[in-house]
């Protein structure tokens, strides 16, 4: 017994989602058509709409419905500092801190040498152009503290320094309220290696 062609096609399409194999795709398709037809039609509409209106901001590269996103357009932001993050979720996290008032650039990924993800995939061209606008004086690298995030930070800093731009990297170490007893060994070792002097 085979599924009707339109259903087969839906199952096939669902498989483009990360981590979704044939079985999960079939489960999802059955669910949408059997249990939640209203949700399914909402999904179809919003997917179609998002595809039409969402693009990347010309300046910061994050998802945006305008050519320049509201954050890049804002007059309240400090245009001399540019913070580089891997993903839009990282940008939102940093915004939640309210500790940063500068601009952003979203790479939409990170260099991943073993997966063949290189400079094109993380829009290095666009970043170099953005950082060279004549207004930015400091670039803060807020890529993840993973081996890939470190490699990404390293190459971006080399390229920007060669162009005379000051580059810094967000600090790492003990978590807020962190008790040494419960912190993982790697974080603790890093915190020890990257200790700093105490000023009075």
């Amino acid at each position: 017994m085979k599924n009707p062609p339109a259903l087969e096609q839906l199952i096939d399409s669902l498989r483009c989602l990360p981590g979704v194999g044939p079985k999960s795709a079939q489960r999802m398709a059955y669910y949408l058509l059997q249990r939640d037809r209203q949700g399914a039609s909402g999904l179809a509409l919003s997917l179609n709409n998002a595809l039409q209106v969402v693009d990347h901001c010309k300046l910061c590269n994050t998802f945006s419905e305008q050519a320049i996103c509201p954050l890049c357009e804002s007059a309240q932001r400090d245009k001399t500092v540019l913070c580089v993050v891997e993903m839009p979720t990282d940008l939102i996290m940093l915004e939640n801190t309210r500790a940063y008032t500068g601009m952003y650039f979203v790479l939409m990924g990170r260099l991943s040498p073993l997966d063949g993800i290189g400079p094109k995939e993380i829009h290095l061209d666009k970043l170099i152009k953005r950082a060279n606008d004549g207004i930015v004086t400091e670039v803060i690298l807020a890529t993840n503290y993973t081996v890939e995030g470190d490699a990404t930070a390293h190459y971006i800093s080399e390229l920007l320094r060669a162009r005379g731009i000051k580059v810094s990297r967000i600090a790492r170490g003990m978590p807020m309220g962190g008790e040494i007893e419960y912190v993982d060994t790697g974080t603790l070792a890093q915190a020890m290696l990257e200790r700093r002097s105490v000023f009075k």
Binding site: G19, P113, G116, P119, V147, D150
Partner: protein, 244 residues
């Protein structure tokens, strides 16, 4: 120790070589283990935000791993730090990725290579010291191919005559060095080099500039031969980055 029923391996010395997404929330974790060689495992739920395993899945750090299963893909139960943290930065970090890619590409699964494991650990330490990265890579490449069982004759030429310091040779994979008589010509196969380079490599002496150059060409040629048509991602990435 291994129990026959669950095929469980406790606290094995390993390095994480690479991870990639598996199903909705899991990861495939490719390990290099001292006792078992390259082992592929799955870390269930490791992509969930609160996963205890998440922060541990970092390459280049000595770890102890516990896994079970008898199929090709084992189940990873735990990872613990084992020894001091290694800090690979900048170019040394890229060299580390390169080592891992070589292991992933050429080391067959579950083929134990204890000597190679020890050498890999030492190579990471050498990279972390950030001195003579190129020499560190040359030593590893040679040792790696030899450990995998590929013959890289450095003492004698293809006719079993001793390598001569002043002689020019054409080195061909699977065969070795052929003395070049008369004028130097361009050859389809192999790499041209001096006898001194081969003797230096045999003596693990990379101080000479020509030796550095020629050993690099030789190893690149030999690795390309054993890797086949698919080039290394890490090398490709370095080439692309040079374009900026």
């Amino acid at each position: 120790m291994a129990s026959v029923s669950s095929h469980r391996q406790d606290n094995q010395s390993v390095y994480v070589l690479h991870t990639y997404p598996f199903k909705e929330t899991s990861l495939v974790v490719e390990l290099f283990s001292r006792e078992f060689g390259r082992v592929a495992t799955t870390a269930k739920g490791a992509r969930r935000p609160r996963s205890a395993m998440r922060g541990m899945l970092q390459a280049f750090q000595p770890m102890l791993a516990t896994w079970s299963g008898k199929l090709e893909l084992k189940t990873l139960h735990g990872l613990e730090w084992n020894g001091c943290l290694l800090l690979l930065q900048g170019e040394a970090l890229m060299c580390g990725f390169y080592l891992n890619e070589l292991l992933l590409r050429l080391l067959p699964r579950e083929d134990p290579h204890e000597a190679l494991f020890a050498y890999y650990a030492d190579t990471l330490k050498a990279l972390a010291s950030e001195q003579h990265l190129a020499t560190t890579l040359r030593r590893f490449e040679l040792k790696f191919l030899q450990e995998l069982g590929y013959a890289i004759p450095l003492q004698q030429d293809a006719n079993n005559a001793p390598i001569l310091m002043q002689q020019h040779y054409r080195y061909e994979a699977e065969h070795g060095a052929y003395p070049i008589r008369g004028t130097l010509a361009r050859y389809e196969n192999g790499v041209q080099l001096s006898g001194k380079t081969l003797i230096d490599m045999l003596n693990d002496d990379y101080s000479d500039e020509q030796t550095q150059q020629q050993s690099k060409q030789l190893m690149r040629y030999l690795l390309a031969h054993y890797l086949g048509d698919k080039p290394l991602h890490t090398r490709q990435l370095l080439i692309e980055l040079q374009g900026y």
